[in-house]
Symmetry: C3
Subunit: 450 residues, 3 copies
């Protein structure tokens, strides 16, 4: 893989010397781990006299001297202070410069720090690495911290030298390609739940809209028509109308994009056509939609359990309905919790594809069916009474049932044998003849998950 | 490890070219990752003109040309289409052929796809790999997908070449041995919860039997003797008799096999004798038994909380008993949840052996004791009243107590100092002299976990 | 990295022979995995005739013969039986001896087993490895067991040979340094929740003190003053006063050390000064404090839900307060559960630093605020009534509020713009001029996490 005649590789082995320019938190943590793994560590510092905080066993010298000692040099200073490196150009010629820097915010500069470094010292081989690992994770021994180190760079041997170091620290290296990817890696630490934005937005919108709706329907109406103050009901009664409705709608929204995708494929007669962008984005955030729906379902369960029990006159028909409605809700919730547990990374990693899709698809639809039945039995014949349409506004439970019913009806259509057979064939790569050959350029590499 | 004179290894390094025969979903995802990791990728296709969907940077050529370019060739077509490979025999001579295929069902063919490939192209070195990884997991960057790639093959250098590729994709390779293992690897994606079958069967059987039992006892009896229709009670009241009973029995069944094993070892006077097969199988599914018991306990808690509260006349004795019974149940359930949490893969991985067995054994028995006490206090002196034996059928809570009590009594016997000392010595390898030497051939390599 | 002229490395490659001295549980599991990974395995045994239990394909011979066959020799016998190795000195010269042993208890001997082995056979290169992995984890294929193998040793090539073997078993090696570290590695399997000790101690102390307090206040007082027996209330009513109080206090204790640290840094004017030891220790166990607080909150929720509902006379002001208090509690608890879920290793590993601190800090303070408001609204104006100070002892809810209120007030002070700006600058490395330069020797490498 590497020819042994390359001088660089010799420098990256154990007992080899690694240089770290900069004595900040990360430089010190990294040096400690490198020393533990058997490397010699030299720090390059502006004032080498001041080395009180550095790990035992490391040497400190001037930046120039330190850079001379090693083949792999970690640049552990902020981008703003890279200027001194241009003075070291002759020393750094042909060496591996590892850029581990992050910026204070996303896309602060036009080019990535690593590319900037590469322009400053064109003779060195710049590798971007370690910026997604925190000093704390490095220092706590990597025992329960994320062990993947993302790297990129243009020079293969230089990357290999860094990969060797990563491995001997007990970490895993993932090569993300050339140095052009560096700006992507530098943006990663600034992400704040990118996949959760859309689902959180949807749930916030639904929450707000429904809250206004039930306040108008239950509080404003009572005040205007009956001149009664119901506002105290906001905290529990109304909250417990809003949360289950949002939960059920979002749960159904998890399954809707898969169904739309199936119909799109049926219409196209092939799986090799790109889905519209909104459908792609929707499908990518189904897990997050589902987990938010689970959180609202959990709130609903707690609100229901603390609410004072109403007492009704006893009648057998009513007992059946009421008991069934509670039972469906409980079974649906427990299945929903199971879905949530299997979406924990460590659990889903231990399942194979067939097991994962059995739970998320088969059991998922069962849970949706139970929850929909729960809402339906809760309402029962209320929708026939006038009181369900105060000011022409239907009860919230009626609103809650719309999307789930659409999803369940469409799914029932899709599992009709004739459609199911066609879908299965399409997913195995078959294409309807009138479509094949005419849309080649529109094909997509997006895998479909149901 | 590998001599540098081997031509093959040179071909597997970075900047090396990798060939993928087939342009399906997996071939495309794999190609994308390989390109990102710095490999050159050539696709071999029947009609090389049609390459719209392939990742940017990959070349497409005829299957023959593509195979000539690379030392490692991924065969990304279905087994049914392997025939064309026999025409490429001269080109494939001495090269590494990676079989990544899966079949539609288990044991569809007499020999594994990889062995079939090896027979078709005897001059090539076939390695089975990647078939347990989904295209989706590959494409989503491996950040939260399972990162273990299982491989097998007969040729050591060929396997090493594939392992190098796996590592540079940021994945971990697990060598499972020679190509004979391939059929095992090909069966893995078809598994559907193999370890859950027995526990699910047990719980389904218990659920059904108990449900029939309580229906006869509570509904049929009321109808026949009192001519009263109690059937509405099925949904909540009866369900909440069945679930806790099943939960407690299955929780006890988790601990019974360990106790039986200890008695078997005491009887044998050695740990080096194989357990009966049923005991081995039982011990392997204890975790699953426990998690199902936890799910039923969760159902019981929810059913209990939604059930309308009965009001009793107040009396101090009764208050003590009732409050204790609820308190025991709550504490037992919380401990049970703790056991469940520590059996999550990522949590149990962060515990050492001593910590894991402290929780699963010590705290587990404490939870069982609390839950049994909960059931016992719930019943209290009911078992003395005639009403507990309608039609000579004891209350379900009496049935629930049988297995847990047996387990707890046997465990109490086992922790008597004399027996405990012997068991400890046996587990450290000591053998009773009258047994040693006579059963050597019956020794087992099954480790015992309690 | 390694020169190919070293004879040792040649012996560690695949197809190479590995020797295992000892045929116990671990030796057998290890041999099985090595065979699966393509190694030849020879066992060295005192009585080589007795090999019934060893994995198929392994050879058994005398200890001397077996040691001659291989370059890497696993010593799978107890330290007490190491004596025979000194007879093999000539054979073991220059070979890699892997010490995998553990002792029955911590610090049983003055020097580690690996160092003792190294003294016995000074010519061999001793590497400590595998002692933190259980035979069971090895045998179950490593699929869901902890895959990090900690190693240490003085000889770099010897360590590399062992690392190669570890990698081909699909495991990850973490080099912890020289053989001096061996005694640390040998202590690891004897740890029993070291980080949980302090939090468990705190919670046990709080539980006990509060329990005595409420028993005196509610039971003893009623007996002495009113001559009424309230003792049955211990099981639920009193427990449900103790658990929420402990939970809220411990939840606040999670956030207190971070606040103290910030004030210490403000006072010092630098982050480069070591914190007092007690603060360091406190900060290291915040996660454990929080999880225990969550467990008590869970108990509180269950106790509250099973408790019979009290009925009050209806009044709107009261309805607002009571509903708000329940609502705050539910929202706080759900947020608290979210904090707990994100502290599962597999979940926190999938978050970047910014996401993790957003949840644990921002959402954490929000949860603490909600829970404090819940306790405050629960009490409302009770603290104005004389009945809240039986025997001059305030109600437990008043005690519960002390620490959280202190934490929230201090936090409110810290987020004042002037202080917040200074803290941020200090954490970015800025030092107040009157401090810089005078405390160089007191600098600390302890990273601060908030």
């Amino acid at each position: 893989m590497k020819s042994d005649s390359m001088p660089m590789t010799a420098l990256t082995g154990k007992q080899a010397t690694v240089c770290i320019l900069g004595t900040g938190d990360f430089g010190r943590s990294l040096g400690l781990r490198l020393l533990q793994a058997g490397y010699e560590v030299v720090y390059g510092s502006r004032n080498p006299g001041n080395s009180a905080l550095l790990p035992n066993g490391a040497k400190v010298m001037s930046q120039q001297e330190a850079s001379e000692k090693a083949g792999v040099i970690f640049v552990a200073v902020h981008r703003e202070n890279y200027a001194f490196l241009s003075c070291l150009k002759p020393v750094l010629e042909g060496k591996v410069l590892v850029d581990i820097s992050n910026n204070l915010k996303k896309q602060q500069y036009t080019e990535s720090n690593a590319e900037y470094l590469s322009m400053l010292v064109p003779g060195a081989h710049v590798v971007k690495a370690f910026n997604t690992i925190s000093a704390w994770a490095l220092q706590s021994g990597g025992l329960d911290a994320n062990r993947q180190v993302l790297i990129c760079g243009n020079h293969v041997e230089a990357k290999q030298a860094v990969v060797d170091i990563i491995h001997s620290l007990g970490l895993t290296a993932v090569d993300r390609g050339s140095l052009r990817v560096a700006s992507e890696l530098e943006d990663l630490p600034h992400q704040l739940f990118p996949l959760w934005r859309l689902p959180l937005g949807i749930s916030a919108g639904l929450l707000f809209a429904l809250f206004v709706y039930v306040v108008i329907r239950d509080v404003v109406y009572a005040r205007v028509v009956d001149n009664k103050d119901n506002s105290f009901r906001i905290m529990i009664s109304l909250a417990n109308k809003v949360f289950p409705t949002v939960s059920l709608v979002m749960f159904a929204l998890c399954y809707l994009p898969g169904i739309i995708a199936a119909f799109v494929q049926l219409y196209n007669g092939t799986k090799y056509r790109r889905f519209p962008d909104w459908l792609d984005r929707w499908m990518l955030c189904r897990k997050q939609l589902g987990l938010l729906a689970l959180a609202f379902a959990f709130l609903h369960v707690l609100y229901t359990l603390v609410k004072e029990n109403k007492t009704y006159e006893f009648n057998e028909m009513w007992a059946w309905r009421s008991d069934s409605y509670l039972s469906m809700g409980i079974l649906g919730f427990v299945l929903f919790v199971l879905l949530g547990i299997t979406s924990l990374p460590s659990v889903s990693n231990s399942l194979n594809w067939r097991e994962f899709s059995f739970i998320q698809s088969k059991l998922g639809y069962l849970a949706l069916l139970l929850c929909t039945a729960h809402a339906f039995l809760y309402g029962w014949d209320k929708f026939l009474h006038e009181s369900a349409y105060i000011w022409w506004m239907p009860s919230s439970y009626i609103l809650a049932l719309v999307v789930p019913c659409i999803v369940l009806v469409l799914k029932a259509i899709l599992i009709l044998p004739c459609l199911d057979r066609t879908i299965t064939r399409i997913r195995q790569g078959w294409e309807r003849s009138d479509k094949a050959g005419m849309d080649k350029n529109a094909k997509s590499s997006q895998p479909l998950i149901l």
